[in-house]
Amino acid sequence: MEIESISSAEIEHRESDGIEVLRIASQHPIPDPDDWLDENIKRNVIFTTVDAALNWARKTSLWPVTAFTACCTFEFIGASSSRFDIARFGMEVLRASPRQADLLVCAGTLTWKMAPQIKRLYDQMAEPKWTIAMGACAISGGIFHDSYSVVPGYNHIVPIDVYIPGCPPRPETLLAGIEKLRRKIEKESISKPR
């Protein structure tokens, strides 16, 4: 297979087409994957113990992938440093590769030029995956929402499980958000498709 050599101008052109296509496609937010939460889950008996074991395992070893763009990065790093130690929940293994991670922490402002990268990162992650939108910029574009190059909220690109308000949210708020996500994982069941 002959690898054709592409000039950098050609690469930039292809990338900007990708950005345009994604921009037109994502004008409306993706609905949150929470519909199965409220209707009472009719669990059949067989799965309860398996569910409990799997959910416990997935809950206690959530490995985040670093999708850090802006200021909230340093609050997440603050949360994983010595004082607010996120490693107590087994989350400090910062896998840089999306294949092994199962939690996408969207921290910081998302711009249209960055949107295709985040979309590809989310698609590369292995299946039982969750996303946290951390900070006002991630929820609705925050202080920059009316700027020409900012996506008003990550949920235009990736479905979001937990929203954490704040600009930037304090590490305690982040830990509370992670606790909410862990409680959500407990309710999952392998019998019901996500």
């Binding site: 206690t60 070893s61 087994g90 400090e92 910062l94 590769s97 292995a126």
Partner: protein
């Protein structure tokens, strides 16, 4: 009171083979789980933070949670990946580490096969697991893992020779290559008898199992995740297991060759083996928490210009001792050799620093 296992214990040869094989595999798996937990807690302690403590008492169940989660994750094979290599590579990487454990005596008689070519066998098999890591890097069709794979081969070749030379120093000292006889010859642990050999072997083992300061293969600040970037699910579990089982085998080799294996007063042999193995792993963790990473050309320069001459000097001195004054009393030869090796290491360090300064200016 010595706990020992008579050579023909259950009578039937095959039954004995089966039982000991099961014991060794259970031992490796248990120590891998303990190593995963220990690494995360000890590194957290180095960094003045707590480490996992929510999963079970003191976070003991953290390793189980990790393995169950990784095993039940989706198993992705990238479209452009070389399917066969991608599927077989983790197995090639993991199986040799188990094969090395077959030769290591956990207790007086608890050894799968007392090969009389034990040292040669270990040197050969340890190269095969590096091939598995290399294949997993090449198969994933990811540029970062490609660079990681090439670095793995470069490091393996340059550190294989010093390791074998350091071990041959042991073989000369105790006359035979079988591990049980090496342990029998260690009335004084070889770490005291051959300190230079221990230093070279330690550095070479660190490079073999890709631990800091030689963790260039999975350099998470340069190559995202090195060779296992494209792996997920079951295959990543095997590679994650390989990384830790290599650490188990590395510390087991250090204990059998230089710390006297299962020999020790009062406690039964297996307990001494476990204590020494965890002690040497603690030393490896200590390095991981504090030392920065060497560049690939610096680590190869260290191997060829540093360890190789030192290993030859070590071999020469041991040969001199065994030929000319074989019956020199221990109270003279041990301190003498310690002083000599300290001087040699200081001279070499000054030479390497001067060369760096002239290069770096």
């Amino acid at each position: 009171m010595n706990w020992s296992l008579s050579p023909n214990w259950p009578g039937n040869f095959w039954l004995r083979l089966l039982i000991i094989a099961v014991v060794i595999i259970a031992y490796v798996m248990a120590s891998v789980i303990m190593f995963i937990w220990m690494e995360r807690r000890v590194i957290a302690r180095f960094q003045s933070r707590l480490g996992p403590n929510r999963a079970g008492p003191f976070g003991l169940l953290q390793a189980f949670a990790d393995t169950i989660k990784i095993l039940t994750k989706e198993d992705i094979i990238p479209t452009l990946a070389d399917k066969l290599l991608f599927w077989i590579a983790p197995a090639i990487a993991f199986v040799p580490t188990l094969m090395i454990m077959a030769v290591i005596p956990l207790m007086n008689g608890l050894q799968l096969a007392d090969l009389n070519v034990g040292v040669l066998y270990i040197a050969a098999i340890s190269a095969v697991s590096a091939i598995g890591v290399f294949l997993s890097g090449m198969a994933g069709n990811n540029k970062y893992s490609l660079v990681g794979a090439i670095r793995e081969i470069a490091q393996l070749i340059s550190f294989e020779i010093p390791m074998v030379l350091a071990l041959s120093g042991l073989v000369i000292a105790c006359g035979s290559m079988s591990l049980s006889s090496i342990i029998d010859a260690q009335n004084i642990p070889f770490i005291l008898v051959q300190p230079l050999g221990f230093a070279i072997f330690m550095v070479a083992i660190l490079a073999e199992i890709n631990r800091t300061p030689f963790d260039l293969v999975e350099a998470d600040s340069e190559l995202t995740c090195g060779f296992n970037t494209e792996y997920s699910g079951m295959k990543f579990a095997l590679l994650y297991l390989t990384e830790y089982s290599e650490a188990v085998v590395g510390s087991a080799l250090i204990t059998t060759f230089f710390l006297g294996g299962w020999r020790g007063p009062w406690l039964p042999g297996i307990l001494w083996f476990i204590i020494k193995m965890f002690a040497s792993f603690m030393f490896i963790l200590w390095l991981r928490g504090t030392l920065p990473r060497l560049r690939i050309d610096q680590s190869m320069k260290l191997a060829w210009k540093g360890l190789l001459p030192l290993a030859l000097i070590n071999l020469f001195i041991i040969g001199l001792k065994t030929v000319f004054f074989p019956d020199l009393s221990r109270w003279i030869s041990v301190p003498a050799y310690i002083v000599i090796s300290v001087i040699i290491i200081m001279l070499w360090a000054i030479f390497m620093r001067k060369e760096r300064q002239s290069f770096g200016a």
